[in-house]
Amino acid sequence: MKGLLKGLAGAAAMAAVGFTGAAKADDTIKFALLQDFTAVYTFVTDEYNQGQRDYLRLINEEGGINGHTFEALIRDTGNEPQRGIEAYNRARREGAVLVDFLSTPVSRAAVNRVLEDEIVMITVLHGRGDASDGQTFPFVFPMMATYWSQAALLADYIDNHGGGLEGKRIAHVYIDSPFGREPVPVLRELAERKGFELRTFAYPSPGNEQSATWSDVRRFRPDYVILWGAGGGQPVSVREAIRNGIPQENILSVVWMAETDARTVGTDLATGVKRFEAVATGTDYPIMQRIMEKVIEPGHGAGPRENVGTTYYNIGVASMAVAVEGARIALEEFGTPLTGDKLRRGMEMIEDFDAEGMMPPVTLSEEDHQGGGYGRVSRWDGSAWEPVTDWFNAHQDIVWEEIEKDAAGFREGR
């Protein structure tokens, strides 16, 4: 009976991500991608998860890491912490060494468990910003710029490319939620330091109607607006901004602004809008070329071909590229079997990893799980998001003040 179950488990592993025959089932490394496919994060999950699975498939097609292949455990949490924890417990029993919830409420609820169970939780572009403090959150890895870093970078872009911040009026227009309010302390601190006027404007969730908010924004006469929303509210924000006379070039957005949003606004109308970019888009990168050749062309892709190379797909690819790199280092340095703790230590040894040019160089350490807070600004050119800066980071001193303040609160049980 036990043998039968083991056989079934092996078959399931082969079916899940593509078993190449290079490794035995016991050597499979399990990553649990327990995400919200049906509720709030649906605007990103499909593409993001598809990118993650396609990347793992690519690694498997290329023989894995010294024969160790990867299996993605996929489950829907519906953005509900209870379902997320249930899925997490099951994945942990199945041997997962890494978990990615792509949901702030679920990942926040799971923090104490992953710390206790010593399982790596990646919180790419979501979750707790203070988890960048690796000493307080040893098993949690934001891996990319937190919302604080994104706000600091966008402000710095205006400072350096928009004629300086001093004397400017900046409107922060956000969805009325903790996510929308998160960058406010950093922007306030920057307003004080740089001498610009900051005003915040909230709109109700989910953001399908924002006209009253924008009537107020227009009367503030902002030089720039920084949009802090996600999903369906984002194109509404851009349309309202344009309708209220704000030039597209002066509209900047948090990372959650993708090709679909630009198309909803209107591809021509959105031309000039800028956004924070964490990972390059398109397929002109070696990893993406190999995904096309070894995964998509042979028909092994995890989803629609047209998603390959989109913003959220590529973020998914990059998230797995960093995680697999951590696993590679861990196996080289600490040997098999790969455990959560070994994976953590492997990830903390990642240095200047840029996924073959797809993302800014990421360096993780015992102290810094954010990876430096790098990103760049890209601009919608009518058909695609084109970068207008190199990768850079900004005002990390202010960002780390916030990280340390909140991390201290976590340590003290606040």
Partner: protein
Amino acid sequence: MDFSYFFELLINGALTGLMYSLVALGIVLIYKSAGVPNLAQGAMVMISAYVIWMFTSMVGLPVYVSIAVAVVVMFLFGLLAERLLLRKMVGQPIIMIVMLTLGLEIFLRGLGPGFLGAAPKQISLGIDMMPIIVGDVFINREYLIGGAIAVTMIALSLLFFRTRLGTKLRAVSDDHVSSWSVGISVERAIGISWGIAGVSAVAAGALWGSVQGVDWTLSMLLFPAVAVVILGGLDSIYGVLVGGLIVGILGSVIPGYVDPLVGGGTRDVVTSLIILLTIIFRPHGMFGREDIERV
């Protein structure tokens, strides 16, 4: 006081409210003929928008042809909902029928994104996005057209209930047994009312879908629509018009002045208060019929 700001909030709020009325109209149409508060109307709006997108993007039809096709599809959907779901509930307590519509709402909300992908889709109606500017007042052109369509739909609904078929539907709403006894096909009448609600969902889905894109959040239009029907009266088409205007205006003007003071987010509070206060002080709404039963 900045009067232009006030008027802008007032006008755009009224037009937004009329756009909510399009969603609310479906709820009233079903209640008025079947006596069932349909909590799946938000999801029907979402599905309508998905159907329009599907015929535009996947089949390649012009958007207005796709809307016409969606009208047929959603009318048939309404008939099917009655045949497969509602008819089986005859004789069951009303609360179970309400729960059935809630179940349908959840099912549909998963169905569209599940089959067609959860990423937002686009519908372009070709409406010029630039506002109409009167003095310092910016009027949202999309909402203006949406409001005009809402008023037209409401007027057509009023006329419909004066037709022979509409009269039958009103009779069915009053009393199923009596309607049966005089030869009215109650099942057919209820099916037609669901079909017409499907048609009004298409109008709402097309307009809201073009404004915000097509995704599951369209189903959340149910919340303001419920406020509209509770305020206006569940069985009143006039109520949809007046309720929509009031919900829209209060939901625009009050947050416009209060949000900057409290740091945002009061519109949902306003909508909730409208629901609570109406239920407490005038449970049948402004224009709804108050049924008094002798016991």
